[in-house]
Amino acid sequence: MRPVVVLGVGLIRFGRYPDVPVAELGQRACWAALDDAGVAWRDIPVAYCGHAFQGSTMGQRVLNRIGLTGVPIINVENACASGSTAFVAAYQAVASGMYDVALALGVEKMSFKGMIDATRPDDIERPLGTGAMPTKYALIARRYMDDYGLTAAALAQVSVKNHANGCRNPYAQHQRRLTLDEVQQSRMISDPLTLYQCSPTGDGAAAAVITTEAVARQRSAGPFVRVAGCAVGSQVFVPGEPDDISEITKRTSRRAYEMWGGGPDDLDVVELHDCFTIAEICHYEGLGLCGEGEGQHLLASGATGIGGRIPVNPSGGLLSRGHPVGATGMAQIAEITWQLREQAGERQVTGAKAGVTHTLGGGGGMACAVTVLTR
């Protein structure tokens, strides 16, 4: 495999764009990534587009607006991990030697949707009302609270932290500081998860241009943001846990770490899949930032805040930056790239040299994508 670097990234602020077609949202993100990379669309030989709800040939609908160049455009669907899976596919295309440059895009318009329901029309969970995403994570939360003595207030603190970070991110959907009281007093969705402990749905798009280190060196002296490791995983059988989110995160992140040759202690910054507050606590553990059952203590210690030992979700995460599902993974790639280039403004993690992105897709964890970027 050849060394691969991130040449450019771009995204649009996540939020609600009722009057802008989804293809134009994607187009704007591609413009930003192409401009950042200093590459013209006509010089891109292959593109991967991740989305979950936009119907067929979404990538073509975006990229045909930019120019009909005839290149392969490959659409990727892995629910909330669609964008991050598209990035891994683009990495494989370049690392393998098949292409010298690739564009990866994540795009989603879902402000027309309410709560995400993981069920299919003929699933028994639909009439029983048991299949909504907040329900799946509320069930995980309740068990975790009883197993490890996590309190409702400690859980809600995840949202307080991530909204404080999102206030420093001009691309975040919710740029509003929330108090613990506001988070806990917001409308109950699925106990113990209140409204502000659930990531908002919205519209968004994010993109990246990647190339080989050799091609990048012809253009500048660097330093470059390198794709040090990446992995996509699906489920294994976990007894009694059809909606497992922990085993898949552990196994997929270990594969990415192994490819990198580093581990959780070598990371400086993390963007992980905080679709609900409990998810962030569980993923501290799954990614190896702390031991099992220690997630709440890691949060309470301040270690995962900006300025802490291992800042998590400096962008605001899904809770504050927003979660237009197919775009989320690519927004994480953009955030870690900026952090490693020291271009993250008010939310910069000082001296960040290695960062990881982590997304989960499907009811619980049907798909997981993890990427390690280093400088």
Partner: protein
Amino acid sequence: MTRTVPIRDGLFHVPPSGAAPPHLIGSRCDDCARSFFPSKNQCPRCSGRALAEIALSPRGTLHTYTVIHQAPPGYAGPVPYVVGRVELPEGERVLAPIVGVAPSGLRTGMPMELVIGKAFDDPEKGEVVTYQFRPAREPVRP
């Protein structure tokens, strides 16, 4: 008398006139002995294709639960409502509506038993019934 129809065929069995308690219909893998609910035609653990229908134990313990205040689309019952995972002796954790207990009375680990009860009223079909769990009562001995 109200006409009752199961929410779906093949999920549970109610023996006539209370001869025995109702049970969930599951399947058990011939190769690795894992049991599943609902029934599967192939084992996701070992990929075995030979699975036999079994009557799952009607009792288990409450592994986890939540009180849902905002119902997803497609649900036609009362709100708020309780949903939980009940761990059966066979190892499967069944996601099901929880009835017969106030939210303040819910505890993980509490013994539960299967009941068949109303899910919602369908104007055409009648009363639609489903599997549910409630806190286990002392066995009634004649």
